[in-house]
Amino acid sequence: MLSSEFVLSTQGLGHFISRAYNDFAFDDMYAGVLLVLVVATVINAVFGLLVARRMRRAG
């Protein structure tokens, strides 16, 4: 989804990062990248915890 926002979109986080890069607004660009990294890491951690809990329950 982020890839498509980079190339073929006028809104979204991917478009925000791409536009910030093209406008030399590097603060915004790094902020967008950081936001995506945080969101991805949190979602990954939540699913990791759910899997670990499920496995503990299953024994």
């Binding site: 982020l2 980079f6 190339v7 995506v36």
Partner: protein, 285 residues
């Protein structure tokens, strides 16, 4: 030494692995059962694309729209592209960069995964960050690659490498960490030199997982390379695709998608075959 080699060769056979398939002698005809199985799997391999092509042609005929070309239009567009020197240069550039990036991802990821997998402590330490890097959408980091490495081949190679190196490292690390330590202890007890350990213990144990990792890394490296070419490049199949999107040449877009799918599928199928072969010979990854 002879008894040592015999003992180490026997160690992997202690596993209840399926018997190794015997290779036919030169000049002899293949076994009829195996030949028919190969023909059956070959026919199955052809059925899926044939069904997809027929469904695509039927859908294109039903929709009957300029923005939805059929397979024949796509093939015509691709043949027209292949007649152009620029397209051929782009295709060659993509294949060259793909091979470089994949080789780098395979070598560095494989060695990193192997080194980490040997120590349970370091495997545990690096597992979470490696998974985190694997799961983040790497496309968001592309502007950073461009800032650091510029709009040249280095940026595209690094971006493609970044897509392939993490799955490679993770899979090889997992395989090395789950290696049966009894074999390694046996090698220690017999004071085996490193090349004997590599040939008789490590390679047979890790090969199925390494081939799986190579196949997955290949697909992701190609994805990263085409994405990189789409965003900021003056050459390559991704660039050609974006040029045709802006010119609304849908038959050429469809033809190029077929071409890229061909580049992806050929080596992937070959690696899949190799994976099955190594798995049936050395056991499950």
């Amino acid at each position: 030494m002879a008894s040592t080699a015999r003992t180490t060769n026997a160690a992997p056979e202690a596993n209840p692995a399926p018997p190794a398939p015997t290779t036919p002698k030169a000049g002899s005809t293949p076994h009829p059962t195996r030949r028919s199985a190969a023909m059956k799997s070959g026919a199955l391999l052809l059925i899926v694309p044939a069904v997809l092509f027929v469904a695509w042609a039927a859908l294109a005929a039903m929709v009957d729209s300029l923005v939805f070309p059929g397979p024949l239009d796509a093939v015509t567009g691709l043949l027209s592209d292949l007649g152009s020197e620029t397209f051929r240069t782009s295709a060659l550039s993509t294949v060259r960069l793909l091979l470089i990036s994949w080789a780098l991802a395979a070598a560095i990821g494989g060695l990193l995964g192997f080194a980490l997998g040997l120590s349970p402590f370091w495997a545990k330490v690096f597992q979470t960050p490696l998974f985190a890097f694997y799961s983040i959408p790497k496309v968001t980091l592309y502007p950073i690659f461009l800032l650091l490495l510029g709009v040249g081949e280095a940026g595209r190679i690094a971006f493609a490498f970044f897509h392939g190196v993490f799955p490679m490292a993770l899979l090889v690390m997992g395989a090395t960490a789950s290696l049966d330590t009894k074999y390694l202890k046996l090698a220690d007890a017999l004071c085996l030199p490193w090349h004997v350990r590599l040939r008789s213990i490590l390679l047979p144990a890790l090969l199925p997982s390494v081939v799986t990792a190579l196949r997955i890394a290949f697909g992701l490296t190609l994805l990263g390379l085409v994405l990189g070419e789409m965003f900021n490049s003056d050459i390559g199949l991704g660039r050609e695709l974006i040029d045709n999107v802006s010119q609304v040449s849908v038959d050429r877009i469809a033809g190029q998608v077929l071409f890229i799918a061909g580049i992806a599928l050929g080596p992937s199928l070959l690696l899949r075959w190799l994976e099955r072969r190594t798995t049936s010979r050395y056991g499950t990854p």
